[in-house]
Symmetry: C2
Subunit: 279 residues, 2 copies
C-alpha cells in the first residue's frame, strides 16, 4: 500500500478506456495505480451482477463516478416504451452501484427517419418521463451532448446549450449534463455554456480529438496530448462553475485498447497531471 498521490484524488478511470478488463480487473487495476474512482459500464457490470460489482468497488475503497449508459430515447411506439423500461433498469442499477450519475446518450434519428425535430421532441418527452423516477432513487440523469458528427446515428443532443435548455426544465437533482471535452471543444460558445451549467454539471470527461479521424469515427477519442485539445482550461472552467466531482478519462481507441491496460493507466495518470491539472 503506497501513500495516495494527492494529485490523483479526483481522477476516475472510465471502464471503456480499459475495455478488455472485467469490472474486477478494472477495480484491481485502479487500486494498483492509485486511482480512487471508476466509471462503470452496464454490460461488464451485468456479467457479474450489480450487487457483486458494487461489493467489488466498495471492498476496494473506490468511488463510482458514473454509470454508462442509459438513453437511446428517440424511438416511438413499442421501441420507445422498451427504451423507457430499459432506462428505468439503468437507473436502478446506478442506485445499486452507489453512484448518483447515470450518463445518457440520447439516441439518433430512428431508421430511415429525417425528422430531426421530432426525434428531439421524443427525447425530451422521454427525459421528462424518467426524471422523477431517477430523482426518487437518488440518481441524476446526465444528458450528454455528443459531437455533431454523431447526430444522425447516436445523439440528437449536440451542444451544451441545447442540453442545458432541456435540463433546466427539471430539478437540478434530477437532470444534469456531461461536459466531455471530445464532444464540445469546437463549440464557440463552450465557455459561456460551462459557466451557465454550474450545478448542472454531473460528469466531467476528458479525452483528446484526433485527426485524421479513424474509419470508425467512434474510435477517434485519443489519450490526452495525442490530439488537438487544450485540457487545463476545461478543468479550470468546470471548477469555476462549481464542479467538485471526479474527472473521468474515457477513451475509445483501437490502439489504446490493444495496449497493456496497466500501461494505459500509467500514461493516463501522467497525462492527467501534466495536461489536465497543470496544462
Amino acid at each position: 500500500m503506497t501513500t495516495p498521490d494527492p494529485r490523483l484524488a479526483k481522477l476516475s478511470l472510465n471502464q471503456m478506456t480499459t475495455r478488455s478488463w472485467s469490472v474486477r480487473e478494472a477495480v484491481d487495476g485502479c487500486v494498483r495505480a492509485g486511482i480512487p474512482a471508476i466509471g462503470l459500464w452496464r454490460e461488464p457490470v451485468a456479467e457479474i451482477g450489480v450487487a457483486a460489482a458494487a461489493k467489488a468497488v466498495a471492498d476496494a475503497g473506490l468511488r463510482v463516478s458514473s454509470l454508462c449508459r442509459g438513453g437511446f430515447l428517440t424511438a416511438s411506439g413499442d421501441a420507445g416504451r422498451a427504451a423507457l423500461d430499459d432506462n428505468r433498469r439503468a437507473i436502478d442499477e446506478a442506485a445499486g452501484l452507489g453512484t448518483d450519475c447515470l450518463v445518457l446518450v440520447v439516441g439518433g434519428l430512428p431508421d430511415a427517419s429525417r425528422d430531426l425535430r421530432g426525434a428531439r421532441q421524443r427525447m425530451a418527452d422521454a427525459v421528462a418521463e424518467l426524471a422523477p423516477y431517477a430523482g426518487e432513487r437518488g440518481v441524476r440523469l446526465a444528458l450528454e451532448p455528443l459531437h455533431p458528427m454523431y447526430c444522425a446515428d447516436r445523439a440528437v443532443l449536440s451542444t451544451l446549450g441545447q442540453a442545458l435548455d432541456l435540463a433546466e426544465q427539471f430539478p437540478v437533482d434530477q437532470i444534469g449534463i456531461v461536459v466531455d471535452t471530445f464532444h464540445i471543444w469546437w463549440d464557440p460558445d463552450v465557455w459561456a455554456q460551462i459557466a451557465r451549467a454550474g450545478a448542472r454539471i454531473a460528469s466531467f470527461q476528458v479525452c483528446d480529438f484526433l485527426t485524421p479521424l479513424p474509419a470508425d469515427v467512434l474510435l477517434g477519442r485519443g489519450m490526452m496530448g495525442d490530439g488537438h485539445i487544450e485540457f487545463a482550461p476545461y478543468q479550470q472552467a468546470v471548477a469555476a462553475a462549481g464542479y467538485t466531482g471526479d474527472t473521468e478519462v474515457e477513451i475509445f481507441n483501437a490502439d489504446v485498447w490493444a495496449t497493456d491496460p496497466d500501461q494505459v493507466l500509467a500514461t493516463m495518470k501522467q497525462r492527467y497531471v501534466d495536461l489536465v491539472l497543470e496544462g
Copy 2:
C-alpha cells in the same frame, strides 16, 4: 435547344460534384442538362485561365454562382501573409469570372497548435484585412461554417451563429455567409440563425449527410436523398430570409465521382426538384 425547365431556374452545379470535368466540360454539361448556373473552383479555372473560363461560361449563357475557394487564414507570420496574398488573388479571380461570391473555408488549427482561440482571432483579423479589398472589387467574401468534425484541420468556423457574429462587423456587401446543409443540419439553433442571416446569405449549398461516414470524412457528402437531411425546410428558410440566389449542389463523394457526370446531373436535377424544391 430545349425549352428551359422553369423549376431549374435557380439550380447551380458546383463543379466539385463533377470533379472529373474541366471547366469547359462542366459548362457543356450544364448546357446539355438545362442547368443555368455553375459554381467554379480555382484549380480547374487555373488550367485554362480566368479570362478563358469567364468567356466559356458567358458564351454558354450561364451564371457563375460562386467561386470556391479562398480562406485558410489561421496561420501566423509568413504563412499568414502568403495566405492574405493568395486570397487577394482569389478575389481578383472571382471579379474576373463575374461572380460576386467568393467562398472562404477559413482553415483549421496550424500544425501542432492547440490554441483554438488564437486561430479564431487570426481568422477574424484576416477577414478584416480582406473585406474592403473584396468590396472594392464587387466581390463578397462568403464565410462558410464547416461541420465541427473539421474544426481541427479545416475550419475553426463551426456554426452559423459564429459566422454571423463575425460577418456583422462588416458591411453586408463585403462579408456574407454560406448556408450549406451538410455542415449545419445538426445545429439546434439553425432556423433562428438562418432567419438572422437575412441579406448576409451569400450562397446556399445542398448535399446530404451520410452514415456511416467514409474513411475520409471529407467525402461523406452525398446526393440529396441518400442521407439524413430533410432539404425543403432549408430551401424555404433561406427564401423566407430573403435569399433569391442559386441553390448549388456540391457533393464530395467517391461514388458520385466514379459515375458518368451526365448521369450525376440527371439524378441531381430530379432530386433537386423532388426533395429540395418540393420536399
